[in-house]
Amino acid sequence: MAVVLDDFNFETVVIAQDLLNAGEECTQRGLNFTAKWLAEMDFAVTQKLDPDVADSLEYQQPKRKGRARYILAKKYFDVKEYSRCAHYTQGCKDQVSMFLHYYSRYMAGEKIVVEDESDKSSETKIAHLKLLHQDLGRLRNTAQWDGYLCYLHGLVLRKMDLPHALQVLQDAVNLTPLNWAAWLELANLIKNSEMLSQLKLPDCWMKYLFMGHILGELHLDEAALSLYEKLHQGVFEHSLYVKSQIAKIYYSLRDGIQAATKFSEIREEDPYCLDAMDVYSNVLYVQINQPELAQLAHQAFAVDKYRVETCCIVGNYYGLRGQHEKAVLYLQRALKLNPHYSYAWTIMGHENIEMKNSNAAIACYRKATEMNMRDFRAWYGLGQAYEILKMPLYSLYYYRMAQSLKPDDSRMLVALGDAYDKLERLHDAKKCYWKAHCVGDLECIALLRLAKTYDKLKETDHAAAAYCDYLRDSEKQGSGEGDEHHGQAYLYLASYYLSKGPQFLDLAREYAQKCVEYPTTLADGKALLREVAQRCQEENSRDQNSIFHSRQPLRRVGGEDSLNLVFTP
């Protein structure tokens, strides 16, 4: 990805000033979450500054007409009386008030939709969006049009699933590059790296944060990590956001230890932070770190039990304890709080798999993929569920989807290979295993499968080589659980060398002796040892015979010689 960080030469003071200004603008417009995020960043950046310089920064409040009306409306907005706020700001010509007007109308509509989710038909759900779309469309090309209004328009378009949302949001970030919410909405619409490369983005330091975010979303983990690392080493050293993004990417790169350390650092710094803690719970789940997960769940529950992250953490905790029913219960709660939370759908799918309820699992995963097309875990889960149902042709399709999302992940490749293997498409399977091995296979499964596939294809030389590599690699990594497979590998190698010919008998004996060390291959190993011994004996006797045979003529020659000698002195 073409993100070169060498040209990141923005001065810290400028960034701090930008953050301050943007934070104020967002607060005035009621974009509270964005303001919160900006404040966090501001806090982090200011720590890098000289305190005197930091204190000298201040926001220049522009002159504004109708101050009293604005303040009244803003207060109504703050106490969530959105319709009232919209009423009082109607007809205002000031940019901030105008934004407040439309934004409060949007919020009023969304509030109603959220409050009675199941009662409404979708027609009424988007009624307020349609009106907003019309009004904002009219405002375009007027003097009041600014980046914030443009962002709101893009948001409305995205909610209505209209195709030109992308263009509008792109305009929005170009008009106001400091509005982080617009960047996030834009990121939601980008499906692949081609789309990303076609975007026209402003040259602002915010772009780098966006790039990090979107690269992570697109599973271009290496690029994202290097970008974030550099940001972390520079201006954003104290930013928890950047840190948590790095942790997330470590998790995505399957580096659980690094991810866990990063997350625990964040927790130490800010024990009441719940953002991204659901990912942390996943990390802990994968590491089977029950005590830490329990503590996390406890803490999260104390902070806010009605956060989706909390429910997710608790769900993960119960899942780790093997209490899948309870886990599902908490995940259901998370989904009730936010039905668009794709993460919870995926985890619920995992739990259903654990409970052997493939149908439910399939439905959950499917829902997750609908929410987030790029969720490779859900695609992978779908593949697994169909594999359990013994429908490899279906699972193949899903593994392919997962693999296309994460082309360099050996797990996907091995799964794909397995599916091909089940469908008897051994050559395809072979390719998959080989690629899995090449991209770096942590569990050393790929080589083992590769060897087995070679064996099935009767390519014995390749199979033996693959087994050898497998043994070498797994010994190097010191994986203890592959014992059974080790035994099989030794067994195969022993019989391979046995069939190879007499000169390999020593090798065959060596491997057969190793077989005996593993309980599963004990009997076979012994049998092989006996056979090796027998062969050796045969060889020896044959050798002796051959020596005997070869010597006789010698002797005869010698005899003749001696005869000659005798007779011709």
């Binding site: 009675d116 009662d119 409404k120 038909s121 979708s122 027609e123 009424t124 029913e325 599902v328 259901q332 989904l335 009730k336 039905p339 619920m348 409970m355 309820n357 493939s358 149908n359 439910a360 399939i362 439905a363 959950c364 995963y365 499917r366 829902k367 609908e370 779908l382 149902l389 013994k390 429908m391 490899p392 042709l393 279906y394 399709y397 899903y398 469908l423 008897e424």
Partner: protein
């Protein structure tokens, strides 16, 4: 086939019933107004307004009933459309009722929530008044159930819901604020969506021309899915729609989507307990079967077989006989080896009839019959099978299979060389009453119908009635538009006829163009025609290489549609027919190079094939070709014998072209006989009374079918004869005719062998 009752299971939810939409309110008000008026007329309710209306005629009552039924079932229409429906002309309704209806609807809007609540009350009264025993609307009638359901919904509604409905009603009636896209405003409730989907599915199965076009259907499905995200059947319909467009990747995607969702209710996952989500593997078996269907229809033979194996494994575990037999039917369809096929089909038929799977048994029997016919089993046995199958189809009311069997019967008749019988059966097929009143009275108009239509077009062309044939082809083109999967049948028929017509006119370039068009649909057929064209042109070199390609192709033919069930039209046994044709063409090629012995060897091979498979007409034609060659070899007596022996079959069953060719050959044989016998001029003149009428007849026939290329041959011979006999005047007229024809249809050929292949 797999689309039959193997839909994903309905993910229908409790409490997800019909919502009250503004349109429904309008319908309710409409019903109420009618009933109030009716009550007033009957003198049971003192309603001042309606007392002045003359009583409704019985036609008006009937129209109201029909209209209300339609309104209940259809999906929501916009207010404009509603008004159009109510306009006089569609239904015979009293105008006063309509004006009163609009008035009270607007009144309800004005009253707001209370108007709706009052409506509910007044509707309930209709179910009870005037007397409890005999209400205006019976509670258990269609209208009664509809009203009760709606009243219940209105009752259940919270106040905010009522307010919202009222405001929706206001915007529904407001004409000023409409967007351009009519679909966007229409609300589709779950039940209406289900009805729509099932209707479209039936239409796709039975009569594709009635269903929406792929683009429109996709729009409708998108709309439905927008409202009901996890509506599996809609996704399945989308899958079938994509199959119509031959879009594999989308079809695959939709199939996966529909079965992922079809297993379980999503809302149940969040809100309900775990026990509700029971396993249901039946859907998965069908999922697998449909995957096989998908791959098979795109020609992915191996993948289809893999999917079928999966299905068999799954249904074997669950002891699901239906699914097993369905898979077996597909296995039969995919199997290449004819012997294996026959074995499998035998098993399919016996097993299916044991398990009372009549459709599959019938299908299996039909496939079996076709295969037997192609394998050369005696015709009487074949017709016995057909009879058995017909009886079974009637017994179990399998309309679909009845059509298949009739189509098969027609195909078999034409395969045996009795095109007239085939025509009769095709006409029977077309006049069959296939509408099922319980299923919307949709007449079948599927591939078999299409084939029957093409059979008739082909028959007319064979009789030289090109204009009629063309109008039928046009009809077929209108009925079976481009996007339909079997639209190629009429195109191929059309090209087939066009080729021979251009050939007989001697328009070689045009014929070549047609061949290249034909090659898109069927390579072997186009190769055979190419070889024919080359031999007509006299280009033996090129002809030889084309023939070689064709023979190679036929010897290792893996064309997917060769033996297959969906193809019992006039192209049944195409491979055998092409084999015979290639042998005949080869013999023509050889005799053009004076290698008559080899040529006759080829002919005898062709005869073998015809005899083995009871292809009578084809046999007669090959014999004619043989006579033609023997005539060239001066084996006149033999040739004459052969012609005399077989000409009757050609007279009865052959096309006009074939008859003309046979007559012309007979005349030439007779002529040759006089020469070999060394007749004197008196004897010869007596023979002439026999020969000239034949020539005139042949000429007439060739003129009729516009085979001017052949007319020229006849005229030339006539002129020669007249010259020989010394009739100068006649000779000159013939010569003039020849000259005129030659100017109109200049010929560039050096080949003088007649080829007995034509329409």
């Amino acid at each position: 086939m797999a689309a039959r009752d193997s839909l994903p299971l309905t993910s229908f939810k409790l409490g997800y019933d019909d919502r009250v939409s503004p349109f429904k309110i309008a319908v309710l008000v409409f019903i109420r107004e009618y009933c109030t008026a009716r009550l007033a007329q009957l003198g049971m309710s003192p309603h001042s307004y309606y007392n002045s209306i003359p009583p409704f005629s019985s036609q008006q009552c009937k129209d109201f009933c029909l209209l209300s039924l339609e309104l209940i079932q259809c999906y929501d229409v916009t207010w404009e459309d509603f008004e159009i429906i109510l306009e006089p002309g569609h239904y015979n309704l009293s105008t006063k009722i309509i004006s009163e209806f609009t008035r009270s609807l607007h009144q309800i809007v004005k009253d707001g929530a209370s108007g709706l609540l009052d409506l509910g009350e007044s509707l309930e009264k209709l179910l009870m008044e005037p007397a409890k025993g005999k209400p205006m609307i019976r509670r258990d009638s269609v209208l009664g159930i509809f009203i009760r359901k709606m009243v219940l919904q209105l009752d259940r509604m919270t106040f905010e819901g009522t307010v919202e409905l009222s405001s929706n009603l206001a915007s529904y009636l407001d004409k000023s604020n409409k967007s351009e896209d009519p679909l966007e405003l229409v609300q589709v409730s779950r039940k209406q969506a289900e009805l729509l989907v099932s209707q479209q599915l039936t239409m796709l199965q039975r009569n594709e021309s009635l269903a929406h076009s792929p683009v429109n259907l996709q729009k409708i499905i998108d709309r439905i899915l927008h409202e009901n995200k996890d509506f599996a059947e809609a996704n399945f319909l989308a899958h079938l729609n994509e199959m119509r467009c031959q879009d594999f990747s989308q079809a695959e995607k939709r199939l996966h989507q529909s079965y992922d969702q079809g297993t379980i209710s999503i809302e149940g996952l969040i809100h309900s307990k775990l026990e509700d989500n029971l396993m249901n593997n039946k859907t998965f078996r069908h999922a697998s079967l449909n995957m096989a269907f998908l791959h098979a229809s795109f020609g992915h033979h191996e993948l289809a077989v893999t999917a079928l194996c999966e299905t068999v494994a799954l249904s074997g575990e669950a002891a699901d006989h239906t699914c097993l037999q369905e898979s077996l039917a597909w296995f039969c369809h995919l199997e290449e080896n004819p012997e294996m096929r026959l074995k499998m089909m035998e098993r399919l038929v016996t097993k299916s009839s044991e398990s009372n799977l009549h459709y599959l048994a019938s299908l299996g029997l039909a496939m079996w019959t076709q295969d037997c016919a192609l394998a050369g089993v005696e015709p009487k046995r074949i017709f016995e099978y057909l009879h058995t199958n017909d009886v079974a189809n009637c017994q179990h009311s399998l309309t679909d299979m009845t059509l298949t069997c009739l189509a098969l019967r027609a195909a078999i008749w034409s395969f045996y060389g009795y095109p007239r019988n085939a025509l009769q059966v095709s006409q029977l097929l077309l006049t069959l009453h296939t509408g099922d009143p319980t299923k919307g009275n949709i007449y079948y108009n599927n591939e078999h119908m299409h084939m029957a239509v093409c059979n008739i077009a082909l028959h007319l062309s064979r009789q030289g009635r090109y204009a009629d044939a063309e109008s039928i082809t046009k009809f077929a083109a209108g009925q079976y538009a481009n996007f339909q999967q079997h639209s190629q049948i009429w195109k191929m028929t059309d090209l087939h006829v066009a080729f021979y017509r251009t050939l007989w006119l001697g328009q070689w370039d045009k014929a070549e163009l047609i061949i290249s068009q034909l090659a898109v649909f069927n390579r072997s057929e186009s190769l055979a025609k190419m070889a024919h064209l080359m031999l007509c042109k006299g280009d033996t070199c090129q002809g030889k290489s084309v023939l070689k390609t064709l023979e190679e192709r036929l010897s290792n033919d893996k064309e997917p549609n060769n033996h297959r069930m969906p193809n019992p039209g006039w192209r049944m046994g195409q491979k055998l027919r092409l084999q015979v044709q290639s042998l005949v063409l080869r013999s023509v090629l050889l005799s053009a190079r004076q290698n008559f012995v080899e040529a006759l060897l080829q002919i005898s091979q062709a005869l073998d094939i015809c005899k083995k498979h009871h292809m009578n007409l084809q046999l007669a034609l090959v014999e004619m070709q043989s006579a033609e060659i023997q005539l060239m070899m001066n084996f006149t007596a033999n040739a004459l014998d052969l012609v005399r022996k077989h000409i009757n079959i050609i007279y009865t069953h052959g096309s006009l072209f074939e008859q003309g060719m046979a007559i012309f050959l007979l005349a030439r044989c007779l002529l040759a006989e006089t020469r070999t016998k060394g007749c004197n001029s008196v004897e010869f003149k007596s023979k002439k009374t026999e020969i000239f009428p034949l020539l005139t007849r042949a000429k007439r026939i060739f003129n009729q079918i516009e085979a001017f290329h052949h007319v020229k041959d006849v005229v030339f011979l006539e002129a020669l004869l007249y010259n020989h006999l010394g009739y100068e005047k006649e000779r000159n007229t013939r010569a003039m005719v020849f000259k005129q024809l030659d100017e109109l249809y200049p010929l560039r050929t050096s080949n003088n062998i007649q080829i007995f292949i034509g329409l």
